[in-house]
Symmetry: D2
Subunit: 332 residues, 4 copies
């Protein structure tokens, strides 16, 4: 089994999780370099994981003994680092979003294309056991032609006000995952969106110019219809469900639960809680996205999440925002 030498650029919370997960994929990867401009524990992390090289400067990773890089730095650095990595001939796994500017994303994708490297985007939910199963049922024809695609996605608690101020809004910071998911589950492209939004969870979010509850109605190129609903606060935990209805049947996923124990008392049945948030709920996806990244590199196949997927998600989020503002459907 070929081992890929990999560098990790950006060692914050997500970067550290990636290092841990990649380190455990011993047969597939060897982490040879890491960089972060600010993390004071970088040397310690390098020692703990037996990583040879560490630096404040990501150029040191790119010039190191690496076949591929993971980009988990802040969003505003993604474009330039992808560009540099592509020019250095490294395969790339980059956290979403690629950028917030559509034109800049297109330029980045051209550089990737020109340099013939692989670019996989971190829409990790595509690697979830539930959503992947539904996707398989669509792709293998089990449910026939898709007619209706539905995604429910609700966070357990709103982000901080500081985050809301700079996030670009619910569609860009939260629904972007679901906009990618409906593309993945429908096996088609979204051609029109219509967005309803409301401030129901916290008036302060409204004062900051954002919404906390949204329902987006969708039309797909294959004729199917779809809907996504989002809330920034589901008090029962991180609600993540999807459903595809087609000409031969439907597939839908229930939320995972912390255990499959039912407790029966004199007031009825009780089920265990669902995982509280994405780190718990999607723990397996963060491993599997690297297993798939490995296969993609070794077999030189197309990633499960391409750069184009990264572009489309940003375009869709911006279309939703426009629909909300104009109170009209928006074509893509």
């Amino acid at each position: 089994m070929v081992k890929i030498k990999i560098g990790v650029i950006g060692v914050g919370r997500i970067g550290k999780m990636h290092i841990k997960n990649i380190a455990n994929l011993r047969d597939q990867f060897e982490i040879t370099a890491i960089s972060d401009p600010n993390n004071p524990e970088l040397a310690q992390i390098a020692e703990d994981y037996h990583i040879q090289k560490f630096s404040k400067d990501y150029h040191d990773v790119l010039s190191g003994d690496v076949d591929a890089v993971v980009i988990a730095s802040s969003t505003n650095t993604h474009a330039k680092i992808i560009t540099a990595a592509a020019k250095a001939g490294k395969d790339i796994m980059c956290e979403k979003p690629i950028d917030t500017d559509i034109e800049r994303i297109k330029k980045v994708l051209k550089v990737v294309d020109d340099n013939g490297v692989i670019l996989q985007i971190g829409f990790n939910r595509r690697f979830d056991h539930n959503f992947r199963k539904i996707h398989d049922y669509v792709v293998d024809g089990t449910i026939g032609n898709p007619h209706i695609i539905k995604v429910s996605s609700r966070d357990p608690e709103p982000p901080s006000y500081d985050y809301v101020k700079v996030s670009g809004g619910l569609f860009s910071d939260m629904m972007i995952h679901d906009l990618d998911m409906v593309r993945y589950l429908s096996n088609s492209e979204v051609v029109e969106v219509y967005a309803n939004g409301a401030v129901l969870v916290d008036p302060e979010i409204g004062k900051l110019g954002d919404i906390d509850t949204a329902i987006v109605s969708l039309k797909f190129a294959n004729g199917a219809l779809g809907v996504i609903d989002n809330s920034r606060q589901a008090v029962y935990g991180y609600d993540q469900r999807a459903e595809v209805f087609g000409s031969k049947g439907q597939a839908f996923s229930e939320n995972d639960k912390n255990s499959n124990v039912e407790l029966d008392l004199n007031d009825g049945g009780h089920l265990d809680k669902i995982p509280y948030f994405f780190i718990d709920r999607y723990v397996q996806t963060y491993v599997d996205e690297f297993k798939e990244f490995y296969k993609t590199i070794v077999n030189q196949t197309e990633p499960i999440v391409t750069g184009l997927d990264g572009l489309r998600a940003v375009q869709l989020a911006q279309a939703c925002q426009k629909s909300l503002e104009t109170h009209e459907p928006v074509k893509l």
Copy 2:
């Protein structure tokens, strides 16, 4: 226990079912008269159910020994029969819709109001054990303020082309039940609709000017958002689910199944089918709507489905149709 003497006007498929169900409610009702202009078995039915009086003419029911009447005749006769029954001082249980003309409905409701009789409309799904439970959780505050209301409603097979030609379209003949349901579940009024529609099941339906798949996005007076999805053909049976998400939690219903048996074979688990169509799925609601009608009459309380509910559902269906045609949201 007071027994209500009741007449049944219109003895087609639904009328016969009502007769059977009411006859089984021996403690509450005595059927004393039935009428139908065409049913050749009317005398036999009267004999089987020990009903004293039967006639081709509904006026004979109204002039008979009846406290209340059930109107299960064709839609285009509802307005005039309600009017006559109200003037005769009879309490009324009428099948939906009251009429297809908004102004005519308003006139009918005024007559009912002027004569002080009870009018209950046959939106039987409000009496379903699942939807009623969700409604209770909303009304008693268990789930807090409603934020998102979702209804999935899909028939097992499309109606005949002849029916499609005259039905008034999917919103009027099918989604009208769901438009009533979201009002019931939200405990609020719909203030805006936006409709997407498609012809995915059968192109012939499209040629007849109708759609077979629809997603309607909703806004409610209490600020909540909602969505209804409809398909005229779910090959796995009559799909009837609902969900209300609120500030304190959510309640959602799964489909009933013919049995609660799980079969585990080497290809995975297998569950029993869901009931095929409304007669099977909602069998209990057709009984319970008469139990409630009885209580309403005896206690002189407001029915669970009022004449106003009947009016609103028609208004909403027409607004959806307008939204589909204009490709714009429609306010109510």
Copy 3:
């Protein structure tokens, strides 16, 4: 459709329920006579249900215009009434148990046999949608050869002490249903039982010489093993589940619930209660046993519950009691 004229002997709680259910099967049955030695409302019931004849004496039913009779009188009268009905050439539906004395049951069955009438015993659970589905999977070979049969059966509350004193004990008054069920589900005969019993619910039950908790281990003629567990008090309601495991897979049933609504709050998921006791849980079986009785008479086929089934259940209950007392396995 041929209508069977039927009489009901014994009009207590269960007898009244049968009258109501049979009356609703208008196409199949006409109730022509009822009898009860004590019920003061007999005349009123006859009037309500348009029954021609009523009497304190069951002989009046047998001599009336009846093709078949339902015996719902007290257990100690079953043997003599079955005998009389059989000699009068009437088909018989009799509540369980036939009798508590094995030899007397055998004599009764011989009379039934000699007179060529149909005898169906009221083990109503065989008509349950869940257990019937499991049975079908066994009989049609879906799960292969049965290896393990399991039944859980727990009442919501213990019977009165007065009842415990005379019931013959848990095996005879409660587990008898489950002993019949394992025969039905295994499609085989029990050849050995081993019983463990305990007094865990209420010490008073122990003082009266009975137990309130039991686990019986079983061997079947086809080689399969089985187990039944009983408790006189499941505080969450009437727990009724079964499972058959075989060479090709397994089938098991969950408890029915009052609704299929899941409520998600910040302390986890909540399910609706299960039906409180047998009248609610098995409401459909009491109707279906008469639908089947009708078919049996019209087609002259073997009942789903035969007199032999009635005998076997009593034999098994007595064997369990013996095993409990001797602390040894008991062969049949």
Copy 4:
């Protein structure tokens, strides 16, 4: 956070899995030595995992820089290695069973006790999310006093004939896990067993003197009753369920499934498969048992699975075998 230096003795399939899992618990453990008399890849494994020392001889592990050891060697070496490790003052995590000879186990436990080291036995299922949740409901009083304890445990396929010849039989090689589980779930001791066994899966297993299907009826010191059923072949996968019924309610676990997706087609609902066997089903337990082992060492608390638990399981398995052979209940 204190790091425990740990050695692994026995690097077969399970030993390798432990090395991988422990290596991923970087904050808790550092693997400093491994030994195996036969594994030709030992040097490579040591290199891959950055382990300083490796040897054919377990004494080299015990004399190395280790605070604790994992014993995953063959069963017949457990007793002597535990003894040596205890005398060397090392805390011990040992795979089950400790030994097959009751007297030898007792001697080993005395040595452990005399040397004041911690001994944790590898009954990994106690660390399962489902069973642990049920256990918690018992211990915290949620379900009241336990009355009935049930465990279903079925392998997806029988072991090889070679294994059957030497395993000591179904009770010792398979049910031993479940005998430990009922002690864990009941929070009590088994005081009597009665075993039924059968050869239903494969006659060859019978010819080798073993059974492949078993039901064991149990009595507990706290008065509760219990039952375990085992099959060596569940064609639908590794069936692992448990249930505790008590005075205040019950808790039961369903099987985990590979995904929570329901597929609805025109023949009914379809669920995903359950994990095929223990490596998949219990993957998390093999990690969590080391997390708990760590806490036990650091806090000097009693392990979740003690040496006494290891002894009891062997005693119970032998009692079941005796009951099967004598066809009588066996007291402990």
